[in-house]
Every structure is written in C-alpha cells, then in structure tokens.
Symmetry: C2
Subunit: 404 residues, 2 copies
C-alpha cells in the first residue's frame, strides 16, 4: 500500500488566506447588502500598465504567426528578460549579477516554496515571527519543522525570531545557530525594514556560521528611504550566503499574471557543490519555463514607459498606505509600516486578539484585514492592512474606522 | 553549516534534453551553413489557433481596465475553465469529474514532478522503461529511487517495466509490488497505446495491491483508434486509484504558453486521508494559480472554433507522423508509434547504439532526434522522432534519410 507524505497531516488547519476567504464568503452570503472593503490579502487592484498591455498584445500576435511563434522557453528564462533584470534591478544599484544567476519563474510564492527542494531535510530553519506563512508551511511539508505544538503555536524544530515593537519589528540574531534563514524586507506582514548596516550584520553572521539566507525582496519597489537596501547583494560577501527572490506581483501588478525570479549566485557553494547548479537542475526538471508572452510583458516593466507607469502605481498604493497610517494614528491606533512597504501593521485596540479584531472589522465595519496571529504567535494582538485597495475604498474604510 | 539535498548529486549527468541541446548548439556553431532539422524535443511549431489568440487579446484587454482587471486566481483555477474541462474532456467521454477534482496548473511537467510532494519518500515507484525522464528524475531528487547503478543504468530502488518489441512496447504487470505506478498513454517516447481492457487490468491491479497510478494523458488528443481510452477514468473504479495529468501543450500548442491540469478524484484515499485535500493544500501553498489570461486562452480551446482549429493542428502533425512512419518503413527501418501519438519509435539500423545514431543523424544528415537510451536502458538501440516539425521540414528530413 502506498503511503502519503504525512508531514502534511501535521499542518494545523488550512492556509491563512483560505480561512479568511471562507469567513468573508460566509459573511458576504449572509449579508448581501453590505459593501465589504477588502484590505486583507496583498492583492493589487490597479490594471496592468499600458506598456505591459502593449507588450502582451504584441507577443500574443507573435504567437499567432508561424515565423514568430515561440515554443518551450529556455529553462532559466529568455535572455532578453534576464538581461533587463540584471541591468535594472542590480547593475543600476551597483551590483553585478550574471544572467545565468537569474532564474525566471511563475512567481515568488512558487520559488519560495520550491527553493527548499535543493536543501536537505536535516536543516534547521529560522524565521521571523510573525512571518509569511509559505516559508514555514512549505518547510513543514518537507518534514523540516518537527511537530506543531498547539499550546505554543510553534513548530518544535524551528528557530523563531520574534519581531516586536521593542525591536522595531526587526529580528535579532538568533541564540541557536540556524542552517537556513528566511528574511523578507520590506517585510510582509509588518512593513518593517532594516538599513544596509543592519542587513550586513545578517550577511556576516550567515557567512560566519555557514547558514544560507533566503532573502525575499518582493516589496523592494516600495522602498522610499535612502538607507534601505533594495537587494541583499548590496551587502559585502552576500553572494557567498544568500539567495534572493523577486516578484513582479507588487511592483507591476502581476498577481494574476504570474512572473518572478530567483537569484542564485554562482559563488554560493556548500562545500564543492554549487547551489546555482542544483537550482538549475530543479528548474530544468520540475518546471518548464515562464510563458514567452509573460516574459515579454515583464521586459516591458523595465522600458522607460513601463518604469514610469509602474512607479505611478506604486505611488498610488503608497498614498493609500499614508491614508491608512495617518487615519489610524489620528484614531488613536498604534501603527507601524507603510513607509517602505504597502503593509500597515497595527496594534489591536482594547487588548482584542487578532481574530477578535478581524471579526469586529468584518462584522461591524465590513472591512477585511489579516489577523496578525495568522503570521505567527508574536503577531497576536496585531493586525495587517494592505494599501492595495482602491483609493476610494481605502478612504472609506479608514473613515469607517475613525467613526467607529 | 547548512546541508544540500544530496539526492541531487546522485543524478547521472544532466537532463536528457539539455544534453541534446548542448550537442546541437555545438554542431550548429561549428557548421553555420548546415540546415538542421529538429525532430527531437516534443515541441510544437504551429502558431496558436485563432480562437486562442482572440481569447488572449480579449483577456489582456480586460487586464488593462480597472473594472475587469484580475488579481490572484483561485488556487484550483477559474471555474469557467474547470467547467469546460469537466464537460469536454470527461462528460463527453461518459465520465463524471467534479470541478473540485480538477486543479489547473502551469503545465504537465510541473504537475508530474510536483505530485510526488504529497507521497511519502518510502514509496517504491514503478516506471516503464523507456520512460519520460521527469518521472524518474523527480523521484530521485526526492530520495525515492535508491542510487544509480552505472553498470545497469538503473536506479537500485525503482521497479522497471520493460516495454519492448516483444510486448508491443506496453508494460506488463510487475513481479514486485509497487506503491506508485507511472503510466503514460499514448506513450512518450514510444508512441504505444493500450486498449481499454488492458488499462482496466492496471486499474484492477492497482486497486488490488493498494498502489496509486499517476496517469499522464498529455497526448490524448492524438488518439485515432476507437478502443484506446482517452482518460483512465473510462475504466471502472479508476477514481479509487488514479491521478490523471493533462496538458494543453500538445493538443493546442501551449508548450511556450504553459497550461495543464491534474485530476485528483475525491474518492482517492489512503486510509482516511483524501489525496484531493493533500494536493489542494500543496497547490494552495506552493503555487499561486495559472494566469487569468492563459486560463481564458485555455477555455477557448473548448469553444466550437477552438476545437475545430486545434483538431486541424493535431491532424497536421499526425500527417507528419504518417510521412515519417511510411518514409522510414520504405527505407527499411523497423518503426512503431505514430498512429495514436505524435512520436515515432524506430529501431536503429546496423546495431548502432542510440547515441551513435543520434550523432550520425546530426552530423551526416543534420537531423536532430532523441536517443532511445536517454529514456532508459530498454530504449537502447531505439530512437525517437517527433511529428511536431513543419510538414516541409519533416518531408525533407525523411528524404534525407531515404537517400542516405
């Protein structure tokens, strides 16, 4: 008799956003007259930029003609896109990344889950607490996290790095030495960032203890302050210890379009083994390339018009972030994030739990947010609102909260 | 110090098609004046059907407008596509598949690699020999295959089911009981099929011994004979033991567009555990949905125009298959496949090894094919040609072979 991967059975409940979705659907069905404003899931609302739309149409037309039709894409992605990435996301920041260090994919969620494939099950991971659930859940599925202890709401074999108000929601170097460290800056869910000197400490630490950093920079486009690094490779010797994951979802609205990439530097080695080669093998064996038309659309994000148009989208969302942050502060809330990230992290009022506040917002004010405790035990008593709604809805939501 | 997944180090050489690609590139660079005809990799050459192109343009236009813009897709895929699949691929064949048993993805290669995630490492797999390398390589990466024995060219912990001329290139029930059985019909690489009664024997066997069948039906559209099943669920009780993987790559030319789906029936259970739930969890945690525009394009494949246009494409390729099969036979080759599949499987002449014949075809006739031994030891002495070239190139390639 075949056996299942029973690590799946250790996962507590369902994926956070599925649970939220079910709650919201149930409320909406029971209350069809209520206008629900969704500031929960980090999904964008602005349409794709005109430059991206044009590139899509052009590429679709190429697919309609024998002479320009494109079959299987190269495993790593088309050179035109990887060159644009190398030039705009790295060279422009003074960082040299070769195009064969860039692996184009269908998105950062897939990559941050799949990257675990190339590591042994016998690695101990360290994650921020609170944290994007995908890092922990995918490691749990792989059998790397021990068992889930319902009492502490923690996995027994994971190093948690609490990110609390006391540390400005940044992690501190862990007491126990991890093998794999997940970092995400600007942070989801807290919106926190660290400056270059602080990130350098993590790089130095990883190089010293022989850990690898999985650096999720999906929100890089939202950085507004000068001393916040846009890529971990701005730090000295980061190529020896860090993998960076990037997304087109938040800077260019590709959540429903799917495109991302991962950088695995060639000098990143475990003994003699190049992680770049391992990921190339994984990519070539379990993935069949991102679609040609989507890679052309991604290329257009780096065109002069694409840059301008997507920067305007980011500015639009960051104005929402300001509306939320200022509005909540004037309503007496304790708020962080929202300056270098599209996420606002607020302390729930009156010592409500995160889910109590979720229910209150949904049922009383018809606003959907994300309970901080869904991201880890240190998120308890906190709540995440996103700036990805429309300006009008964002304003209305904040008015509802202020008037409550 | 972190540790890599050293199962990767057990993989012999690189992925078959990468090796071929490198050889062909080297030859092309050294011989820029030669016209190389590629009948190696199973990549299509016809442009996307007009109905698909129209659907793409329409969906791209929707993404350009706030009111119709689509963000994250539902984990399983949009209902419009899953309904079209349920109706056209199953109901039309007398098979009832619920839409929540259908998981839309970025393609059959990803799914056939990723499906292993939901099974324990302690399962023994059975594969046809020769076989599509992805099944074995992905299981090797997961640590399920033992070690590779260079002498026998076999993994020590895999049950191989030889598919030889004596068995019409169909596998026989294995002597040792497997946990997971990979079947692909119409077969890649041999082009062989089995009829419904024969497939029923596999279903009955799997149900009896408690094995699960991973059924790859990527080439279903190429079936021309009446008694060949289009889906494993045409067989009685198949929902209790089989997962089916489908692709839009070969029936609609989506190799560079990326769309596929996997059926995991709700009644497929390991003890009390529903595999449908496990795959839903995997899909929801490590994948973020197929793009909206691509799902609309996929839906168009099932429209009346889409069906007609893609059927014409299949007919075009099957005419190529006939050209290859008849041409090789008239040149004295021993040939199979090409009737219900776009693959022609030929015995190499003069006792050449598969790679010797590869080199001969590339260097002397400037034709690229795929060495049978690349698919497993029982493929030695065989060679695969695909019908996916243009008619003109296919004809020219066969003329070159006939005149050699």
């Amino acid at each position: 008799m075949y056996k299942i991967n029973d690590n799946y059975l250790k996962l507590p409940g369902s994926y956070l956003f599925s649970t939220i979705g079910k709650k919201v659907n149930a409320f909406a069905t029971a209350n069809p007259d209520k206008k629900i404003i969704r500031l929960g899931i980090g999904d964008v609302t602005l349409p794709l930029a005109p430059a991206v739309i044009d590139a899509f149409h052009k590429a679709v037309d190429e697919m309609a003609v024998k002479e320009t039709f494109m079959g299987y894409a190269p495993d790593l992605g088309y050179e035109f896109l990887r060159s644009a990435i190398a030039k705009n996301d790295f060279e422009a920041r003074g960082v040299k990344i070769d195009i064969d260090e860039i692996f184009v994919s269908d998105g950062a969620k897939s990559d941050s889950g799949n990257i675990g494939d190339i590591f042994s099950v016998d690695n101990k991971i360290a994650v921020c607490d609170p944290v994007y659930p995908v890092y922990v859940d995918t490691n749990a599925m792989a059998g790397r996290t021990g068992v889930f202890d319902a009492a502490t709401e923690r996995w027994t074999n994971v190093i948690y790095m609490p990110c609390t108000a006391e540390t400005n929601f940044a992690p501190e170097l862990p007491a126990e030495t991890p093998d794999i460290i997940y970092l995400c800056f600007p942070n989801n869910p807290t919106g926190a960032t660290i400056n270059k000197d602080e990130l350098q400490k993590w790089v130095d630490y990883a190089n010293k203890v022989g850990a690898v950093i999985i650096y999720d920079a999906a929100y890089e486009a939202y950085i507004s302050e000068d001393d916040v690094p846009h890529t971990i490779y701005e730090c000295k010797d980061a190529k020896g210890c860090a993998i960076e994951i990037r997304s087109f979802s938040k800077n260019a609205g590709f959540t429903g379009t799917r495109l991302g990439y991962t950088v695995v530097p060639k000098e990143l080695k475990c003994g003699d083994v190049s992680l770049n080669s391992l990921w190339a093998r994984r990519h070539g064996t379990k993935f069949n390339g991102a679609p040609y038309i989507t890679q052309r659309a991604g290329e257009a994000v780096y065109s002069p018009e694409g840059k301008k148009q997507t920067a305007e989208q980011v500015a639009y969302y960051m104005n929402n972030a300001k509306v939320i942050k200022n509005g909540l502060e004037s309503a007496g809330y304790t708020v962080s994030g929202g300056v270098n990230a599209p996420y606002i992290w607020l302390k729930t009022p009156n010592n409500m739990t995160s889910w109590q506040f979720f229910d209150y917002l949904l049922e009383e004010l018809n606003i959907v947010g994300t309970p901080g405790s869904g991201f880890g035990p240190s998120g308890e008593g906190y709540f995440r609102l996103t700036a990805f709604g429309t300006y009008e809805n964002t304003l209305e939501a904040i008015e509802r909260i202020k008037n409550a």
